[in-house]
């Protein structure tokens, strides 16, 4: 058969390689910055645009999507053409893919620094950029599948199975997780709320790890490892088994990020069991890689590229054993919210991902530039520095995690928390944070050595932008002959069919977990006393979201005695039904805030405390590492957006009364002025429109809705309720009318219809019950959490009974 001539597109590979190197350096430097910030808060520079809360997403996104992302594309564009004996499907698509992706990265860096963020981990970008990602990703997939279709090789090799799973998996994850309701170019609300949002987010978050950091890298391993070692793949059968089992099982494991949190037990159990079942499929990849090196270990000794690959595969094996162990509930109570997770992801990120990228680059760049590596010695130096860096980075963090966890749950002999002040447990581990910086610095030094080595290599050679190659045309084979061809071998030559099967296998896990959370009501038991955010609280929440407060403060109390003693009652699913998006967080560098608004609880602080603390945390707690947020006192909330936000919330199902958007700003100012007046008592002057006021209102909303105020032990037991006989005399009604107008009308309106969020007394809905004694006690004892004042000291018993009668007989006919 005659050979066809064609040209490999090497230029696009070169572009992706350069982007990988440049963004890699940026990502590591930002990582170093946030490591410095944690040990020495002065590195927040008292500057709004460089706080930890804004820089941390910049680091994670730069590493995952900029460094690793470009590396994937470089690796895929190089290997795909060679494996399929075809040029990329379309040069224009290649260019759109490359430049589109770089544009996304630049937009990400700018918007994060500006505080434009959805706060969903690894999906913090706002909706216009989300759409751009979708488009560029589709271009990537289109280009890849197009190339598969016009290939000159009968069967699709294992590496490409992983590339396909990557494309399809990420497409599905990104679209479903990013469904959000825009209210302006820079702000949107997740359509999911609370526990639903958490399940969707960690289905995404966990599988971003799977389909951005694992599957593409297994694909790269299946190409570059056998190429660099010049050895055949150890087991074709193992390739098949671990591919299908891994992509199926991974999608179910997301809830292991939410163990012991406000999530139904069944969903948590799926997270645990599927994570455990992932051990063997993950290790399948590791051992197929390591066994492929049989007979080539002598070359590993002096070849830096292979050494990096071996460390990468080993780190992968370690992480994929550690991950399932961390998913066991009793282990998770230690590893979650501590630095264990941070150490875990850096073993995987620096070992597996960066290691494989380094190995790939040391092998590929000399090939691409038709030259030899500038210095094998420097490459080996890089290897040893990087390996040492990983250890110096991770070991202190494991140590920190165990230390902090032990302190969190230690009790004194008297039965009190040994370290009730959260800060003590943080101060204790700061020295380990300092050591971690050494690890990060070493990693950067190694990286820079590689950059020098690779640029020297590039200079000594040149890329042939269009490299001539030839291969016979593909002859499409017909039906499967069951005697000569297995089903899998048959599917391997049917690219589109193969993709459809992958998609189906991927879709099952997410559907099985997300759909019940949305459509089966019993999974989200509602709590009647939980009310929507007032406009002021909502604006405060939006500031909390945009500043990335969740990067240090969780908002979910787990059902452990040592957490309920420290923070208050553990979190319930129904408390989060108005949270678009949820804010549970995943690391406690600062204390949990789920009960910051629970009056009388251990976390409650008054307005003046919050004011001073936001302005200068070190003034309140000398050793605090929180950045100063003094611009909260300077910057105004944009009130023109408030009605829009209320309407958006209504569309998402938050039960504000109809037309509430029109009075939202009035309500905003009313509540803000109360806080301003409260602050005034402590001689603090501030205008009601400042961000500070909204933040204080939000802090005071958190977790306070679940139970009425309990001021002391005595009122914990409900007092025996006395029977109330209603007074219906004309005189009683007259007296009551007078009192009502004077006192009650301010909040409940002159005719009891209610004002804004204060309840209507004329309808059939009652927050605290509508029996005569319920109403009597509501007036008498109030409901401090909701703002209802107790009137027992201001009104006589008779007056309260008169009012009760007036409300029940006259207003609520």
């Amino acid at each position: 058969m005659e050979n066809q001539k064609f040209y490999y597109d090497n230029k696009i590979v070169k572009l992706f390689v350069l982007a990988t190197i440049i963004w890699g350096v940026v990502g590591v430097i930002v990582g170093l910055l946030i490591a410095l910030q944690l040990a020495f808060p002065v590195f927040n520079f008292d500057f709004e645009y460089t706080t930890f809360g804004r820089m941390r997403p910049l680091h994670t996104n730069a590493i995952i999507f900029a460094f690793v992302g470009n590396a994937i594309f470089a690796g895929v564009y190089y290997s795909l053409q060679k494996l399929l004996k075809a040029r990329m499907f379309n040069d224009v698509l290649s260019k759109i893919h490359f430049w589109g992706w770089q544009l996304i990265i630049v937009l990400a860096a700018v918007t994060f620094a500006l505080g434009i963020s959805t706060s969903k981990e690894y999906a913090e970008l706002e909706w216009p950029i989300d759409i751009l990602i979708t488009l560029v990703w589709v271009v990537f997939g289109w280009n890849m599948i197009g190339t598969i279709v016009k290939r000159r090789v009968q069967h699709i090799y294992a590496a490409i199975w992983w590339y396909l799973a990557t494309f399809l998996g990420v497409a599905m994850l990104h679209v479903v997780n990013s469904l959000e309701l825009p209210i302006s170019l820079t702000k949107s609300y997740s359509i999911y709320a609370g526990a639903q949002d958490a399940v969707v987010q960690w289905w995404y978050g966990h599988n971003a790890v799977a389909f951005f950091l694992t599957t593409p890298f297994l694909g790269l391993m299946y190409y570059y490892l056998p190429k660099a070692a010049n050895r055949p793949i150890y087991s074709y059968k193992l390739s098949i088994i671990h591919f299908w089992s891994l992509i199926f099982l991974y999608m179910w494991a997301g809830p292991h990020h939410l163990l012991y949190q406000a999530l139904p037990d069944w969903a948590q159990a799926l997270g645990v069991t599927f994570s455990i079942m992932l051990i063997a499929p993950s290790w399948g990849g590791m051992i197929n890689g390591l066994l492929t090196l049989r007979g080539a270990w002598d070359r590993v000794r002096d070849n830096a590229s292979l050494k990096f690959m071996v460390v990468a595969v080993t780190a992968y094996g370690m992480s994929t054993f550690e991950g399932p162990m961390m998913s066991l509930k009793f282990v998770n109570q230690l590893t979650h919210f501590t630095d264990w997770t941070i150490a875990h992801v850096h073993i995987a990120g620096m070992g597996w991902n960066a290691g494989l990228v380094f190995g790939m680059l040391y092998w590929m760049i000399p090939k691409l530039f038709r030259t030899k590596l500038f210095s094998e010695k420097l490459a080996n130096l890089h290897f040893w520095i990087a390996t040492l860096a990983i250890l110096i980075y991770a070991i202190p963090l494991y140590w920190a995690a165990v230390t902090q966890w032990l302190m969190w749950h230690e009790y004194t002999a008297e039965g009190f928390l040994a370290y009730p002040n959260f800060l003590e447990t943080l101060t204790q581990i700061l020295p380990m944070y300092t050591v971690r910086i050494i690890g990060g610095t070493l990693f950067l030094i190694g990286f820079l050595i590689m950059v020098y080595n690779l640029f020297k290599t590039m200079k000594s050679g040149s890329v042939e932008d269009n490299e001539l190659a030839e291969a016979p045309a593909l002859v499409i084979q017909g039906r499967r002959n069951p005697l000569q061809e297995t089903v899998h071998r048959w599917v391997e030559r049917r690219g589109v069919r193969f993709s459809i099967w992958v998609f189906i296998v991927l879709a099952i896990g997410g559907a099985a977990e997300i759909l019940p959370m949305i459509f089966i009501k019993s999974n989200i038991p509602t709590i009647e006393s939980v009310l929507p955010y007032t406009p002021l609280e909502l604006e405060g929440r939006d500031i909390y979201v945009s500043e990335g407060c969740h990067t240090c403060h969780s908002q979910v109390v787990r059902p452990f005695r040592w957490e309920t003693d420290r923070y208050g009652e553990y979190s319930k699913i129904g408390e989060f039904v108005y949270d678009h998006p949820y804010q549970w967080g995943s690391r406690r560098t600062g204390p949990d805030l789920a009960r910051a608004g629970y009056v009388g609880g251990p976390m409650y602080k008054n307005a003046a405390w919050h004011y001073n603390h936001f302005k200068n945390p070190q003034k309140m707690n000398e050793q605090s590492i929180m950045p100063k947020y003094d611009w909260f006192a300077r910057k105004d909330v944009d009130l023109s957006m408030t009605p829009k936000k209320i309407r958006a919330m209504q569309i998402l199902g938050v039960p504000y009364p109809e037309g509430y958007d029109e009075v939202a700003v009035d309500d905003y100012m009313k509540q803000a002025k109360e806080i301003v007046a409260d602050l005034k008592k402590s001689n603090i002057d501030i205008e009601p429109t400042k961000e500070m006021v909204a933040m204080i209102a939000y802090m005071h909303k958190l977790g306070g809705d679940i139970a009425p105020l309990q001021l002391d032990e005595g009122t914990k037991e409900p007092a025996p309720q006395k029977e109330i006989t209603l007074l219906s005399g004309v005189e009683d009604m007259g007296d009551a009318d007078e009192v009502f107008t004077k006192i009650c009308a301010a909040c409940h309106g002159p005719s009891g219809k209610g004002i804004a969020t204060f309840p209507d007394l004329t309808d059939a809905q009652w927050i605290n019950g509508n029996s005569p004694s319920d109403v009597y006690y509501s007036i008498r004892n109030g409901n401090a959490v909701k703002g209802m004042i107790p009137y027992k000291d201001q009104l006589s018993d008779k007056q309260i009974i008169q009012l009760t009668s007036y409300i029940l007989l006259k207003l609520n006919k």
Partner: protein, 190 residues
């Protein structure tokens, strides 16, 4: 391509006719132990589900908390101070301990390093008290807090004994006349 590969005799008897850009594949079965791990983890998942759901042996998350919390209460019988024991301590050692607690619990953030008070909390050094004149009142405010005014309840963090000590330290500050003392608040106590 196959010619380039060395060690063929030792390892590669199962070479298949697959060739992708020079990459070949062997027809080895997956190692038995990895398959064993796979089956064991699947069995674990089934047993886990049975234990917690189908057989209903394992506790739900809420039940687990209730059980462990009850055990905790049993383990630590918290001693309370009441009646005649609830008196002002004047022993220097107790006062010194009270002072240490004052610092450890960050009381100074709101009441000043020497109890002079600041923008947030009242001073603790004069005859004027917001919540009552008796030592029992001081004790009570520390224990149960005045949440709406910003005073934290310390009952979950300090034993009654420690509250008694820090309360005694505070009372001992009377007349100490630190710099920058805040103006008196509350009622004068004789």
């Amino acid at each position: 391509m196959a010619k380039e590969i060395k060690d063929t005799d030792r390892y590669d008897e199962n070479l298949m006719d697959h060739d992708y850009d020079g990459i070949q594949e062997l027809d080895n079965p997956p190692p038995r132990w990895i398959m064993a791990i796979f089956y064991i983890t699947i069995a674990f998942a089934i047993i886990y589900g049975a234990y917690y759901f189908w057989l209903g042996v394992g506790d739900s998350q809420d039940a687990e908390y209730a059980r462990k919390s009850a055990r905790h209460d049993q383990e630590y019988q918290i001693k309370s101070v009441s009646g005649n024991e609830l008196a002002l301590l004047t022993d220097a050692a107790d006062i010194a301990e009270g002072k240490a607690i004052f610092k450890d619990m960050n009381c100074f953030a709101c009441h000043g390093t020497n109890g002079e008070g600041n923008a947030i909390g009242p001073n603790l050094i004069d005859d004027y008290w917001l919540h009552g004149c008796e030592f029992a009142d001081v004790f009570n405010v520390i224990k149960n807090g005045e949440p709406l005014k910003g005073m934290t309840a310390f009952k979950g963090q300090l034993s009654d004994e420690k509250i008694q000590k820090v309360g005694s330290y505070i009372v001992s500050l009377k007349g100490s006349n630190p710099a920058n003392a805040k103006a008196p608040q509350g009622d004068r106590c004789e």
